[in-house]
């Protein structure tokens, strides 16, 4: 009996949707749009915060500087020594000449302010675990054990900066998402309310015929649910499409910068970051 009622009530929702074609369409449209906007924002925020949070993992590196004008062979020896350490994943030598060239490219203002190359040879040490960075860097600072090491820099500062950035993005983006979430709930709620208003008289008749509140409400809820789900699916499709467009646009504008990471946001953020130095 209850099962019979349930199938009837589900059928009711279906009939309502079909027989109120245009009204259903209007409600569906509103829900779709609202969900698309919400989803788009959530996704962007997620990607941004994801990106910022993933960055520290790249900072499992330590820069080890050799004394100025040190011979190249010493750098080579040190490289091999460090390579044997169990904590170390990889070591790369960046010679002072290479470093200067990169600096000339990235910071022309600065290099033109220098009349000769003041840089030192550098070993980029990549550890297996980002958590070991501080401790390992400290051990390298022992002058007795490593006489050929002039300065050791771990990524402490950058990590803190990036975590800070991630925090800003998450709080602002999160606030935005919460605001939009409330807005979306509100809009969907209002939309359902409007479709209910349009049936005020019908609901009164049903009550007079002895329908329980749930008997009246369930088809309306199912209808709303259907609009919500359909809206969500269409919204998802729209977002994928929009994401694709944005990705294409960003790639076309900044192709040299967007090689590695395929997500639109990453490309966007990478495109901006080099300019941010001022």
């Amino acid at each position: 009996m209850i099962f019979g009622s349930l199938t009837f009530l589900i059928g009711e929702a279906g009939r309502n949707i079909r027989r109120n074609g245009l009204m259903s369409l209007a409600a569906l449209g509103t829900v779709t749009i609202a969900l698309t906007v919400l989803g788009g924002t959530l996704w962007t925020t997620f990607r941004m915060s994801e990106f910022a949070r993933s960055q520290p993992e790249k900072f499992n590196r330590i820069d080890v500087f050799l004394p100025p004008k040190a011979e190249r062979s010493k750098a080579q020896d040190l490289l091999e020594e460090l390579h044997k350490k169990p904590e170390v994943k990889e070591v790369t030598l960046v010679t002072r000449e290479e470093a200067w060239k990169m600096m000339e490219e990235n910071q022309p203002v600065l290099t033109s302010a220098l009349d000769e190359n003041p840089l030192m040879d550098k070993l980029e040490v990549e550890l297996k675990e980002a958590s070991q960075v501080s401790q390992f860097a400290q051990s390298l600072r022992d002058k007795d054990e490593y006489p050929n090491i002039d300065k050791v820099l771990d990524a402490g500062e950058e990590v803190r900066n990036l975590i800070n950035l991630s925090r800003v993005i998450r709080v602002i983006g999160g606030g935005l998402a919460v605001g939009l979430f409330i807005a979306t709930l509100f809009i969907i709620h209002n939309t359902i309310r409007l479709t209910v208003f349009a049936r005020k008289k019908e609901i009164l008749i049903m009550q007079m015929v002895g329908a329980t509140p749930w008997f009246i409400r369930l088809p309306l809820l199912l209808e709303g649910l259907f609009h919500g789900l359909m809206g969500g699916v269409i919204a998802g499709g729209l977002m994928l499409f929009a994401g694709h467009l944005v990705s294409q646009f960003v790639t076309s504008v900044h192709s040299p910068l967007s090689g590695e990471v395929p997500s639109p946001f990453l490309e966007y953020s990478e495109a901006i970051m080099p300019f941010a130095v001022s």
Binding site: R15, I205, Q207, M208, V209, G210, A211, T212, F215
Partner: protein, 234 residues
Amino acid sequence: MIDLKGVGVTYSNGWRALSNVQLKIDKGEFVFVVGTTGAGKSTLLKLLSREETATEGTVKVSGQDLSSLPLHDLPAYRRKIGIVFQDFGLLPNKTVYENVAFALQVTGASRQTIRRQVPYVLDLVAMSHRPDAFPNQLSGGEQQRVAIARALVNEPFLLLADEPTGNLDPETSLGIMQLLNHINLRGTTVIIATHDQAVVDFLQRRVIAFDQGGLVRDEVVGNYRATEAQEETA
């Protein structure tokens, strides 16, 4: 079964639609409610269907005081009575068949019951030829008959009909009234508000008359109009 004591209804805008109504109706009775327009006939029926509540006095049906009926028992109460509304009250988005079936659906009736009962009552009111029409595809009289079918379908113990033949020609009216009479003879209490003098005079059942909110006449066997003797005593 129905017992009204000192009942008055004052609508929220201050309009006094009924005052000091004393009325007893026994199980199985057949009652015509008559009176000029605005006399309070519909208000009386709305009291019995709990669409309105008395602002004075008590309305009891089967011993239950309707004004103290909890809200969550209301649907169950309404399923046991049948109501024919003055303005039909059909669901516009449902077909004739679905409108009648709906009154069974709310009771949780099985599919078999529905498939058996709905065509049966549609046949009783001579509407079985158009089960798939929507209300706005029907003439006034046809809608009225569908409304009657819906009220009959779950075999109520009390049938309230407000002007059930206002849109019907005299022959169809008499047919419908005889149908209601027939249903009454099977045990259902029937209360009909009507302006149809011919039918009231023809059937010779109990008649109660209202005037400006007051019960002015109550005859066990009566006509639409008061006899001269009564007019003198009134």
